[in-house]
């Protein structure tokens, strides 16, 4: 249970604060509601490139990292398909350093052509290191591209190709900043051992003076319903073949999300999950296996993926995945299995509340979803899932016409 207090400043910035009584640190999280799904299809990877540029200095603070580090702080950021998140932890006495810096770069970013060129090179190296020079590095990219035809989830956060990053211009950078980086498109969350009132007051002092630049975001093209099974086979220099099957499912806030997440847990939650027990240990078809939900803001994916042991054919794995889905429809989850998922969720929640950074980040995430109360109530949603929900989800969602299968074959 995370107690919190929330206000919305006049400029539209939402501020959520939590008092942590154990930590000597303060965690400041600033989430902007912009991600790869807001990108132009000819400029993919831009939101992530822009995240990098946010560290390139402002008119008043030419070097962002220096004052953070001087204040014994640590900061970083990440971008995903839905949002961009910046976070700082530092000794709680230095909290205002973080608020000063984050408020400053919300309106005073100073990007020159030269800074942009250097950052493009860094991001292209990141692209190479994490996706091109990495076995299986393009696997998720291929699967996304197969499953999505219209929605921008069809590309990964890093982008479709390094060329899109190389082509980014200074005027695009400025337009992106104006469109997405302003108080009413952001959520500030703080966790520290200070009174909540005091935290809200400090947030208002540093962020209150910022003017909003309200901007109507462009509508995101939604994915039409898939009507027939899709399939792609590629061959790569990797030691083992993998099979991935993705099904379209509801959004993170959809009512069926909890059913889907619970199913993914039944299948792949820990070493006692059905897939690991049956396909890795008993039948020895796979060396590893997973099932997970993407948990995106727009309707996302339910994914099965397995890495084949020598001697296993992709067809055998596809059949095994289908058999597991059928099994879920005929032999539904027992109260014991549901209780297990509930326990696991409770444990993960409590383990996640042990440090201030996780708490601040979670507060930002749930507020971004539009339902902050969910942070303390989500467990009830899992508890409410009934065996019939599982059967019904499997028959409506995990069906062949809704699937995209990627065979990622090891070159002989």
């Amino acid at each position: 249970m995370i107690p919190y207090n929330k206000i919305t400043l006049d400029n539209g910035l939402v501020v959520v604060v939590n008092r942590d009584r154990a930590s000597k640190l303060a965690a400041v999280n600033l989430l902007y509601k912009v991600g790869a799904r807001n990108e132009d299809p000819s400029r993919t990877g831009f939101a992530h490139l822009f995240e990098h540029l946010m560290f390139r200095g402002t008119r008043r603070v030419p070097n962002f990292d220096l004052p953070v580090q001087m204040a014994s702080g640590d900061n970083n950021a990440f971008t995903n398909n839905d949002y961009t998140d910046f976070y700082i932890t530092l000794p709680k006495d230095n909290l205002e350093t973080a608020l000063w810096l984050e408020s400053d770069r919300m309106e005073g970013l100073d990007i020159t052509a030269e800074k942009l060129e250097t950052e493009k090179r860094v991001v292209i190296e990141e692209f190479r290191q994490r996706y091109l020079n990495q076995p299986y590095g393009d696997q998720m990219m291929l699967l996304r591209d197969l499953a999505f035809r219209t929605h921008p989830y069809r590309w990964a956060t890093i982008g479709r190709t390094p060329d899109h990053i190389a082509g980014a211009t200074l005027s695009e950078v400025e337009a992106f900043y104006r469109a997405h980086y302003h108080p009413s498109n952001a959520v500030l969350s703080i966790s520290a051992d200070l009174d909540e009132e005091r935290l809200l007051e400090l947030a208002a002092r540093w962020f209150g003076p910022l003017a909003d630049r309200r901007h109507e975001p462009a509508a995101i093209p939604q994915e039409p319903v898939q009507t027939e099974a899709r399939r792609l086979e590629v061959e790569r220099d990797v030691p083992a073949t993998t099979v991935s099957v993705a099904y379209h499912m509801c959004a993170r806030t959809g009512s069926e999300f909890y059913t889907a997440d619970l199913i993914s847990d039944l299948l792949a939650g820990g070493d006692s999950g059905r897939l690991y027990t049956r396909l890795v240990k008993e039948r020895q078809l796979l060396s590893s296996v997973n099932a997970y939900v993407s948990g995106d803001v727009d309707p996302g994916l339910f994914v099965f993926t397995g890495q084949l042991l020598p001697g296993t054919t992709p067809e055998a794995v596809e059949a095994a995945f289908r058999a597991e889905i059928e099994d879920l429809q005929t032999a539904a989850a027992t109260p014991y299995e549901i209780e297990k998922v509930k326990n696991k969720f409770e444990a993960n929640t409590l383990f996640g509340e042990l440090n201030v950074m996780n708490k601040a980040m979670n507060l930002g995430f749930y507020e971004m979803l539009g339902d902050l109360e969910l942070i303390n109530r989500e467990i009830d949603r899992y508890r409410a899932v009934a065996p019939d929900d599982i059967r019904s989800f499997c028959s409506r969602t995990l069906r062949p016409e809704n699937s995209s299968t990627l065979i990622y074959r090891a070159r002989k």
């Binding site: 014994s72 640590d74 932890t89 860094v122 190296e125 190479r128 290191q129 070493d271 444990a347």
Partner: protein, 421 residues
Amino acid sequence: MTPPRITPSEIDVQLAEKRMLRNGVALYTLASEEFEVLRISFVFRAGSAVQTVPFSASAAANLLAEGSTRRSAQQIAEELDYYGSWYDVNIDRDYAYINFATLSKFFDQTLEVAEEILLRPAFPEEELRTYAAKRKQRLAIDRTKVDVQAREAFARALFGPKHPYGISSEERLYDSLSRAEVADFYRRYYTAERCFVVCSGRIGEHELQAVGALAESLPHGASETDISFPKPETVHEEFVAHSGAVQSSLRLGRLLFPRQHPDFVGMQVVATALGGYFGSRLMQNLRERNGYTYGVVAAMVNFERAGYFAVATQVGTDVAREALQEIYDEIERLRTEPMPDEELELVKNMMTGEMMRILDGPFGIADVTIENILCGCDNTVIGENIRRIRSMTPADVQALAQRYLAREDLVTVAAGAERPW
């Protein structure tokens, strides 16, 4: 308008309470009532350096939970998962760390499973074969990555290819690893003499008694004569050819000393300034100024009986030569120019903050406590180290760099499409 900045000069950390059990196992406790969770860590001197059969140390550690004399692997996994308990195993060259974390309300149930895992592992043949096949495949995949190739080559170059800290074994040896070899490793090294326990989180008398009873059941071992530690045989250059790689992985550094050495903390300051944080000299140079890399790090690495200084990065193939030269130049600059006061102040503040972040939360405190115990210290050493860091002067930094980072002493390793020298 900038806010006031306060540099924490002291870090006080809870001291672990120590109890000696009848069989000689030390039980350390870091109790904090405000949490509803706890963690129990069993640390054994059972790392890969003591193994005589390749992969037997990691197999023993990783198969502890894969079936006991009374429960199948599936039952053990099921019980742990049912209670939402976290079980994890880490193994390095010197030690194996077996951790159980659980909701306080499921402590008893979790400890019951822990007992099966620690005292009665059966190492079933079929579990070993599944494990060996999986690991073999994973290692083969890892070894297609330039950073893994460079990491292994670097250990070989520093210590020699047969040294316990330098050796890397062929993945096919997983096929011949036998059940008897794994069970034998367990019997010899998972003993009371080689173990201590650290509990953190909500630990009351009931929990302490129960953990103590479990640890007291660890058997005594035959007095093991540890394998001989040959003198390292360092070679100064090694290149691993990897045709078609779009990036080259670079590692350089040299053998120095373990954490107990009086210059270890000073060399941590030197390494941090060079490549231990985002604003470090190498990050500024290679990433921010030149765009050669996504990241570069420098650090002091500690083993039980050795320690080394290392720089690691991955760079575009076409700029590997330039990047390597920049790294040599930055190291040389530490030796020839005194560090500006402001930069040194920054490094000190960074290191202080980093220690505070590691110590945030009960499990973080437990991790640091374990590290301190392994060096023969208690948690007062954290404050001492912070004071030592804060007392470093630019002249101290330069003197250490001059003494320990001469160009001719550096070992350079690369993996990639072309030899960058």
